[in-house]
């Protein structure tokens, strides 16, 4: 399709310039063909309703996540949106930054990002950032840094950007798991006001399950990749029939796999440990919150006592015919601490929930496998 490059140019032009990258010199593009005018929205009016992940991105994320295990792999997603579907066509890994608040490393990452985008553009890769991906274990992706990055993207990116989380442990168990999320409006509102007190939570009806909303995700392989995969998984003709069974292997480049039928349950104990750890930190956090609450209550009581006393005094002074003392200096005398943020405790709860959900999933799959094995044993 001849119009494709110009479409890309049109869309790219409407995007906010990617951080620090030099703004491209006014691109010249032809008018959008009438047949496409309904599905292309330069103003980003059509909300994103589904996400489509390219096969290349799937394998890139899996590789990066596995290699950077333990150190939290994350990277940027590149793509375009068309008619409500966000197509993610490429991605690249971001260098792992050791200290978040180090100004130099942040600048380094920004420079890296800009230079990577420029380079990719030269070989006709989509160069608009649409979100980021994050690797995690056992389904727990509720972390402060994820929420912060996403909230930052929400302002900067077209459609607010999405986050794709990839579960390493589930993938190792035989089910490659990719899920797409974005922050809910209620959470964003509370986040922008930087107010996670109890009242604000009630106003926004926020619990851990309403921090993010999931967007349906599809995996797509382009026809070239499909045909190539087909070739790879097709078995080659057996060279000879006289091989010993123990040494024979499948001749296809990608042999069929049955690793999901493995009865081992090695992951369960680690999963339970993580639940216990998360519960511990939740308890500590709750303890901190309760302490702060008590302190607030104490200060309030003190302040009220002072006001009451001052009022009494004033009443007696008025009775004696003297001018009343000023009442408004209470706020200066007593510093009532701001109500503590419940964000961290909410995130911790979310993590606990995710851990137990994945534990539940593992154990129920384990049950099925056990009965299958028992059945085959001829019981």
């Amino acid at each position: 399709m001849a119009a494709t490059p110009s479409m890309a140019a049109a869309l790219a032009a409407s995007l906010p310039a990617p951080q620090t990258a030099p703004t491209p010199a006014a691109p010249t593009y032809e008018a959008i063909p009438a047949s496409m005018s309904k599905v292309i929205d330069i103003e980003a009016d059509i909300p994103v309703t589904s996400v489509q992940l390219d096969g290349l991105v799937v394998s890139k994320i899996i590789k990066h996540s596995r290699e950077a295990q333990g150190s939290n792999a994350h990277g940027l997603l590149l793509g375009l949106d068309i008619d409500g579907t966000l197509e993610i066509n490429n991605s690249f890994a971001l260098p792992h930054h050791f200290t978040d608040d180090d100004d130099k490393s942040i600048k380094g990452v920004a420079r890296y990002q800009a230079s990577m985008l420029r380079s990719l553009k030269e070989v006709q890769v989509d160069d608009s950032v649409v979100g980021f991906y994050q690797a995690m274990t056992l389904g727990s992706f509720y972390t402060q840094s994820l929420v912060e990055t996403q909230a930052l993207h929400q302002d900067k990116l077209r459609h607010g950007g999405i986050v794709i989380v990839h579960d390493i442990s589930q993938t190792a168990r035989g089910n490659a798991s990719f899920r797409a999320f974005r922050l809910t409006k209620a959470f964003l509102d509370a986040y922008k006001r930087n107010n996670f007190s109890t009242d604000s939570l009630i106003d926004h009806r926020l619990t851990f399950s309403s921090i993010v909303e999931e967007i349906p995700l599809r995996i797509r392989t382009n026809p070239l990749l499909s045909s190539f995969l087909e070739t790879l998984s097709a078995p080659a003709p057996m060279p000879s029939v006289d091989i010993k069974p123990t040494t024979a292997t499948s001749t296809a480049a990608i042999p069929p796999s049955f690793s999901v039928l493995n009865l081992g349950s090695g992951n369960i104990s680690r999963n339970m440990e993580q639940i216990v750890d998360a519960l511990d930190s939740y308890r500590t956090e709750e303890g901190n919150l309760a302490y702060l609450q008590r302190q607030i209550a104490r200060e309030k009581v003190k302040a009220e006592g002072y006001i009451a006393k001052r009022k009494e005094e004033n009443a007696s002074r008025v009775a004696q015919g003297l001018a009343p003392l000023p009442e408004e200096d209470v706020n200066r005398l007593f510093k009532i601490p701001a109500e503590p943020s419940r964000l961290e405790s909410m995130l911790l709860l979310g993590r606990i929930d995710a851990y137990s959900k994945s534990l539940e999933g593992t154990s129920s799959a384990g049950l099925v496998k056990m009965y299958a094995a028992k059945g085959s044993a001829g019981a």
Partner: protein, 300 residues
């Protein structure tokens, strides 16, 4: 796991040429990670109309035994005309530095091109990459995308050797070396996902599914296989087909596994464990839910 149909070509153990004193081993075999392969295919899809083939750099690791593990790749700009070939070296350098920041372990091991014709330009590019990988030898991977008529998709690996009385950059022999696809077992499920996505070609899509769905398909296909074996065995027993001794040996090897442990009460112990874990998980979940709701209330 071979990547190309078996060929009759002998993989010559290429001796190190005398005048090119290369330390380390000459590459003896190549393994390639799916990511590198998929990036090459993606690059091929995104080529411009004028480009006949695309080239790029291969990154990976070398082992002492002469095995090269290609772990990723990136595209490099180049132009070919009847008279000359040009590779954007500056671009190559920038991209390498960027990749190096994220993955310091991966170094340049060679280059790829699509299509399977090796010509003078290939020799020139090979010469350029040999300088980049010095003192090691550069490898070349030719990916046949299989889009042209009569050509089968496949991947071939070569090392270049100088040829002729006086070494010239445009004179080279490309000696084939064995090439395999390799990935870690934990990445296997990703490939399965892509395979399932590519097999429902009607929509070309697939939803990420739960553990149980995956398990169901696996059990289903295992059960189909058992049915197939059963039909075969029955027909051999009935004398309809002639039994193949090799198949018989495979069968006894696979099905002869003992299941004594299951009989000895091990099943019930594990069953109780699994139920307990499942119960605990649900308990924790409901507690977390209650706790989240309680946070939304205030004392009257």
């Amino acid at each position: 796991m071979p990547l190309a149909p078996p060929s009759s070509a002998i993989h010559v153990k290429n001796a190190t040429p005398g005048f090119l004193s290369t330390p380390g081993r000459t590459p003896s075999s190549v393994t390639i990670h799916p990511v590198a392969l998929f990036s090459i295919l993606d690059h091929y899809l995104r080529r411009t109309d004028e480009q006949d083939r695309v080239i790029g750099t291969l990154l990976g690791t070398r082992s002492d035994t002469g095995e090269i593990d290609v772990r990723s790749s990136f595209a490099v700009l180049h132009s070919e005309t009847a008279e000359q070939v040009a590779v954007d070296m500056e671009y190559h350098q920038t991209m390498y530095e960027l990749h190096h920041k994220v993955n310091p372990k991966e170094v340049i091991v060679g280059w790829y091109s699509t299509g399977s014709n090796l010509n003078t330009y290939s020799a020139l590019i090979q010469n350029f990459y040999s300088q980049e990988t010095a003192p090691h030898q550069a490898i070349h991977i030719a990916v046949n995308t299989g889009v042209e008529d009569g050509e089968q998709a496949g991947v071939k690996a070569y090392v270049g050797s100088p040829v002729g009385v006086s070494p010239k950059p445009e004179n080279a022999v490309f000696v084939p070396i064995p090439c395999e696809l390799r990935f870690k077992e934990s990445e296997r499920s990703g490939l399965d996902l892509l395979l399932s996505a590519s097999s429902n070609s009607s929509t070309s899509t697939s939803h990420p599914s739960t553990d149980l769905d995956i398990l169901e398909t696996a059990i289903q296909s295992a059960s189909d296989m058992i049915d197939r074996v059963l039909t075969y065995v029955r027909s051999v027993l009935a004398g309809e087909t002639k039994g193949d001794p090799a198949v018989g040996r495979y069968l006894i090897d696979t099905l002869g596994a003992s299941s004594e442990d299951l009989e000895k009460g091990g099943f019930h112990a594990s069953l109780q464990d699994a139920l307990m874990v499942s119960y605990l998980a649900n308990l924790v979940r409901s507690q977390a839910e209650v706790s989240a709701r309680l946070a939304l209330t205030t004392a009257p």
